[in-house]
Symmetry: C2
Subunit: 198 residues, 2 copies
């Protein structure tokens, strides 16, 4: 068992991203949450990078999707990120901060704005579309336009996942490593890692 205050899994993950970046779907992973009826939910979302230079994972979503209700009920999620070319899996679990336009923290609102402008105009247009999962027959025909200089619209929501455990599996080498976050005696976050049976 090894220990370190920096997140030792991050370098491993950056290596996998690099090794698979020639594939369009390399940045897609599955995000599991627990619904208000206490059942599991699972959907594909897009990796939007790490927050600043830290370990927290950014995901953009629509405030009108069910995952927001899920996360208000249970603020934890597990990412399952399988890299199809290198045969590596990262299971990343942690607390999720849901940052919509009503967030009272100005620093978080700035982060949300930064994520908005980091999106392509085409991606931003998605948030002007009618409510997801509403019957097509009930939709008014509508055309939307969006001023590129305008900040995030109400439907745009930033999710920030703060990992507390990362389970890494390499199907080529048949190796598995579990990284767990704890607190040092001085109250700092400390990561420990252990090689386990696959």
């Amino acid at each position: 068992m090894g220990s370190s205050s920096a997140a030792p899994w991050k370098q491993l993950l950056l290596g996998s991203i690099q090794a698979n970046s020639h594939l369009k779907h390399y940045s897609y992973f599955q995000l599991a949450t627990v619904s208000s009826s206490s059942k599991p939910s699972n959907r594909t979302v897009v990796f939007r990078g790490f927050q600043d230079d830290g370990d927290k994972i950014l995901i953009n979503t629509d405030t009108r999707t069910r995952k927001i209700d899920d996360l208000k009920h249970c603020p934890f999620a597990e990412i399952c990120w399988y890299f199809t070319d290198s045969w590596e899996q990262f299971r990343i679990s942690g607390h999720v901060d849901v940052i919509d336009g009503t967030n009272p923290d100005p620093v978080k609102l700035q982060q949300r704005e930064k994520s908005w402008f980091a999106c392509s105009l085409k991606s931003r247009m998605q948030y002007t579309m009618p409510t997801p999962r509403i019957s097509i027959h009930k939709l008014p025909s509508q055309t939307s336009s969006l001023d590129p200089s305008v900040g995030p619209i109400d439907a745009f929501c930033l999710l920030v996942l703060d990992p507390d455990q990362v389970d890494y599996l390499n199907l080529k080498s048949n190796e598995r490593l579990v990284f767990t976050s704890g607190l040092s005696v001085s109250g700092e976050r400390l990561w420990t890692s252990e090689q386990v049976n696959p």
Copy 2:
């Protein structure tokens, strides 16, 4: 909205499997469960086909993995199956039947045996390995052998997921269909489908 007693999503899924079958990972999907601490879990598993000629989805697993504890706590799961070549996602949720060697139902034990013999010998060997997620340093060095004619060993477990909702998303055509299972007035299972906003 349309309705039918046969599962209308199955033909769609078989088409996606066919269209992506040239990829090694086409049969991999992510299975979300809820842990005994009520948090979400998510991992990649392998599609092992449909049960008989029906709609139930087969997955093989090891009785010693945490997903078994999860499913004993909450017997529901959601599959997220993303097809990387055709850009299609199936979210399949339903009840999961956990069939290990202690199952009292002889028909289910037969299904488990059938799934065991459908595995390659190499796949079967995985179940003779030491307990998953146990520290490598605590493992005894061991060599295993397995008689190809011998039936399922204790660690082998069959999961049978009985879908009650399927959410289909096509990222190329930007179409989304939600299939929901209900009961007809005569008590038969009835699937309804609805085209919804992506």
